[in-house]
Assembly symmetry: C2
Homo-oligomer: 194 residues x 2
DNA sequence: CGCCGAGTTGAACTGAATCAAGAAACGTGG
DNA sequence: CCACGTTTCTTGATTCAGTTCAACTCGGCG
């Protein structure tokens, strides 16, 4: 039982170590979930009611506009995932989250989370640090989209996260970089020849 | 004295009302600043040590890459402004913040802010809500950059924030939209004829 | 006045999208 | 284990949104 929640405890402690009693209460409300590749954590139009921690697996956040698919982010083992915008605003999500492989997740309900924020100053702090971390990720990506060419974005990603490039399909990678699969294919072609 | 800090109090209370004593302590550490058009709140390479509240005025966050100027955001009267990324990470800022007009600002030092976060649960909560709000802004812009054409982004901005279009120079607006001034000029030309 | 930065307009250019057609990889059932 | 269909990836040809560079207009201001 505790074994399943060991990794999420470590991940939280990296933000802000919890007191024994805080963790006791927190871990009681956690729920272990097993989902299969292709399943969805949330679909467009639904309101997000959970944050998930990925014990093992991978997910993709994307949205669809005019029938086209745009990848906002990937998450992997030992990371948190949620439709954060919807979780915060309580508005229907504009993003989908799909499982890229069979995964084991730990679910935290938003109701409990908010209660935990309110009850424990430490909880609130974790909430702040998560929000700040999410902000940093988004700003960095926005700046890259504005100021770099597709090729530069690919090169940067390759440097920061080379494993990602092996595990994710070209289609999804391209959509993450804000380009079409054909363009990414050409970029990689150039890169491999140098 | 209190008069100068009335608006920031209201702005904070909109996130989370403070107790009398909390506000007392908070307001003691506030500093009123008058700056002129063209002044900078922070330059690239400096570490951000303040959050500012704009009593009256306007600012622009931008960064420079290969000599080109990219506008991340504008802030106006009654809004907060800071190089948030640097404030959070304590890393040197990659953005500049310039004053677009003579402005009156209220400065909060990051040292005091962190102390305030630690001392008061309510303070920590405000910190979380600010971070969440900043996240939402960035995600929305990222999604727009990914999925909309320059023309759609202009139309959207015009709808959400028509005053902005009157007050900001074409050059800055274009850079905010991620295009060149020439392109924005052409877009506006089309729009005015319809 | 004359200058100067801001905005506009025009023409050529380019990075990436689109459309189309193959090639390779994948998994599913016989 | 192979054969098949399906999806993924690549390659080529064309198109297009937006850039770049250059010239011109306009309004403000010393």
């Amino acid at each position: 039982m505790t074994h399943d929640f060991l990794k999420i405890k470590q991940a939280i402690d990296r933000f802000q170590p919890l007191e024994e009693t805080e963790w006791e209460e927190f871990s009681e409300k956690l729920e272990l979930k097993k989902l299969k590749k292709g399943d969805f954590l949330i679909r467009e139009g639904q309101v997000e009611n959970h944050i998930y921690f990925i014990n093992k697996g991978a997910t993709r956040n994307f949205f669809i506009k005019d029938g086209k698919d745009y990848t906002v982010d990937f998450q992997f083992t030992d990371e948190f995932v949620t439709a954060y915008y919807s979780l915060i605003t309580r508005a229907p999500s504009s993003v989908f989250i799909e499982l890229l492989e069979d995964s084991q997740l730990v679910a935290i309900s938003v109701n409990f989370l908010n209660e935990f924020y309110t009850r424990y100053h430490n909880g609130e702090k974790i909430g702040r640090l998560i929000a700040e971390y999410q902000y940093v990720k988004r700003l960095r990506k926005e700046m890259d989209l504005l100021s770099l060419t597709a090729e530069e974005r690919y090169a940067g990603l390759m440097q920061r996260n080379p494993t990602l490039i092996q595990n994710i399909s070209i289609k999804h990678l391209a959509s993450y970089l804000g380009i079409q699969p054909e363009s990414l294919s050409r970029i990689r072609n150039l890169h491999s020849r140098t």
